[in-house]
């Protein structure tokens, strides 16, 4: 029996927009086994990113339960969530979100600042992460000196450097050309297959979704599953 990494039960998320209440997610249930690679597709405003934010402890549900590993995220305080995120989840964004004032190496080291590792250990681990994504020779480059694909690789290295079990990717190839996008998606596949990372990826790109083990469609706040052939 496959071990469950994350479980969402009866999750709803409602936002107040002016006088109107908008329900983005409605009574959503989702179970994510360890080692899964899920693509979530759907139209804009369907709740994909909201779902990702709930899984990553960036947001709390209006109703329902979000459990990742042993942690019940919906009941945790802000500081508990911060601490939990630093070791349990890695984020990969569409626009990389690297800090422009830091080199690739220092960007990757950022999550390790929250650990007890000293400077040399942080540097060693960041170097390993950069080697995994194939950018060991770009450690001293600033983001402005890297291509979009390289920036995204650095962002992936930053996401995996503290070895979290879960990676959440929000349109990770949305800003890249097809060829570079495929390289990034293959890298994610390797992380999933060889490094046992559970990956949840939001995408509009059907070709990107093909790299996942399964695809879920999000529409009007609910999920429908489509098995990949």
């Amino acid at each position: 029996m496959t071990e469950t990494l994350a479980r969402l039960e009866g999750v709803s998320r409602t936002y107040q927009k002016g006088k109107e209440r908008v329900e983005v997610l409605h009574q959503l249930d989702l179970t994510i086994p360890k080692g899964d690679f899920i693509a979530i597709m759907g139209p804009s405003g369907s709740g994909k990113t909201t779902l990702l934010n709930l899984l990553g402890g960036l947001d709390r549900p209006t109703a329902g339960s979000v459990r990742v590993g042993d942690a019940e995220l919906s009941k945790m305080s802000n500081s508990q969530l911060s601490s939990w995120r630093s070791t349990n989840v890695g984020f990969i964004f569409q626009f990389y979100n690297l800090l422009p004032v830091l080199t690739a190496q220092k960007n990757v080291e950022l999550p390790l600042l929250l650990t007890r590792f000293g400077g040399s250990e942080r540097a060693r681990r960041a170097k390993i992460a950069l080697d995994i994504v194939g950018l060991g020779d770009r450690a001293r480059h600033y983001p402005r000196e890297l291509s979009g694909g390289q920036e995204q690789r650095v962002a992936i290295a930053r996401a995996i450097v503290s070895d979290p079990p879960l990676l959440l990717c929000d349109e990770p190839t949305g800003d890249l050309d097809r060829e570079t996008a495929d390289e990034i998606l293959k890298l994610l596949q390797i992380l999933n297959r060889e490094h046992d990372k559970t990956i949840v990826m939001v995408t509009h790109d059907a070709q990107a979704a093909d790299y996942a083990q399964r695809t879920l469609h999000c529409d009007k706040g609910t999920l429908k599953q489509r098995e990949v052939a």
Binding site: N53, L58, S79, S82, F91, N97, P100, L110
Partner: protein
């Protein structure tokens, strides 16, 4: 400390803007250093004053003289351990710009009253024995290159001598210095007897008396006893502690401390606006980066601390540079105008105050942007990016 690399990189994110802000901080603390040194010079007399020394002046004005005959009566007052006197000579050396304090007094009595002044005993004896003898402070000797054995002319703007002219000559018998780093030796002492014999008018008077009270004596009671003795006389007295005397003397130039405080208040208020604006812009420009930090697991408090540390760092860089430059300028000023404004000096307490202001101003300038950063909602901030 492990976040400091990140802080340092963020401080220099916009080099021109940060440099200009640091320059404005530098100027503010340069002013602080200079004005503190000037303020200190004006109250230096009070700071180095001996708590057991009292000064007796004429009740109406320091300018009015007191009879020399008061000396024995003051000395006989209960609680008085020793007394001397001094007068304002008001001379200059060679050129009217070369002005410094010169005081006719009794050599032995004066140095007995001021133990913080160091002079070789043989020089003091030579000074006392030579009626035209004088001793000068180290600062004056260095400034004009005067040596022991020199005979120097002084032109008095107040006292014509027996010849009817204003030209007085003195033999330099010694050079004294002060063991108190805050004190001054930028003045000259000459024999009162010679001065008294040769001045054309004002004979039988002195400018003021200085006395030391006996250990354990009540200064206020001694002062009252002295003033009571001369009440209803043609020359009533006003006796106060040396510190109070120095403060009232400094206030003749205006309330320097208030002026200094007002100027610095205006400067630092402007500084807060400049630095606060820099920090606000800096935070506004990187909302998404701050949201990313929080996403990675940086707590609200960490983000607050990072932004505040950036603000304090900018203040410390500019402030320490300004303070250092100010200290250098004060050293230059001390050698250039020390004779006119003795005691010009940047005390350690001012440096500590400046350090506290740097940190306080850093917090004040950075607190609102830091709170804004701390309160960022990750989801909203990332959606806006």
């Amino acid at each position: 400390m492990k976040y400091f690399g990140l802080v340092w990189k963020n401080v220099w994110r916009k080099k021109v803007r940060t440099s200009l802000t640091i320059l404005s901080v530098l100027v503010a603390f340069l002013l602080f250093a200079l004005l503190s040194a000037i303020g200190y010079a004006f109250r230096a007399g009070a700071d180095v004053a001996d708590a057991e020394r009292l000064v007796v002046i004429e009740k109406i004005s320091l300018i009015n003289p007191l009879p020399i005959a008061y000396k024995n009566r003051i000395a006989a007052t209960e609680g008085v351990a020793g007394v001397t006197h001094a007068s304002w000579f008001g001379g200059y050396y060679q050129d009217p710009r070369n002005q410094f304090g010169q005081f006719p007094t009794d050599p032995y009595e004066y140095f007995a009253l001021y133990p913080e002044l160091d002079i070789p005993p043989e020089q003091l004896e030579a000074f006392a024995k030579n009626r035209t003898g004088a001793v000068i402070g180290r600062e004056i000797a260095d400034r004009f290159g005067i040596k022991v054995g020199d005979r120097i002319p002084l032109i008095s703007t107040i006292w014509p001598n027996a010849d009817g002219g204003n030209n007085w000559e003195f033999d330099i018998e010694g050079i004294f210095s002060t063991s108190d780093p805050r004190g001054s030796s930028a003045y000259m002492l000459m024999n009162y007897d010679y001065f008294e014999e040769n001045r054309l008018y004002g004979k039988g008077t002195v400018g003021w008396y200085v006395l030391r009270i006996e250990p354990g004596a009540d200064a206020v009671a001694v002062a009252n006893a002295i003033d009571m003795q001369f009440a209803n006389s043609p020359s009533e007295t006003d006796t106060s502690t040396e510190a109070a005397f120095a403060q009232s003397f400094a206030k003749q130039f205006g309330n320097i401390q208030l002026i200094v405080t007002l100027i610095l208040g205006a400067v630092f208020f402007t500084l807060l606006l400049v630095a606060g604006n820099t920090m606000s812009q800096s935070v506004r420009e990187r909302i998404s980066e701050l949201a990313v930090l929080k996403t990675l697991g940086f707590s609200d408090g960490s983000v607050l601390g990072i932004v505040l540390t950036e603000s304090i760092t900018i203040m410390l860089i500019g402030g320490l540079l300004g303070l250092g430059l100010g200290w250098l300028l004060v050293q230059v000023a001390a050698s250039a105008i020390g004779a006119f404004l003795p005691g010009i000096y940047l005390p350690g307490s001012s440096a500590m105050t400046a350090l506290a202001i740097m940190i306080g101003a850093g917090i004040a300038a950075g607190i609102f942007p830091a709170l804004k950063a701390m309160r960022l909602t990750i989801v909203d901030a990332l959606a806006r990016a």
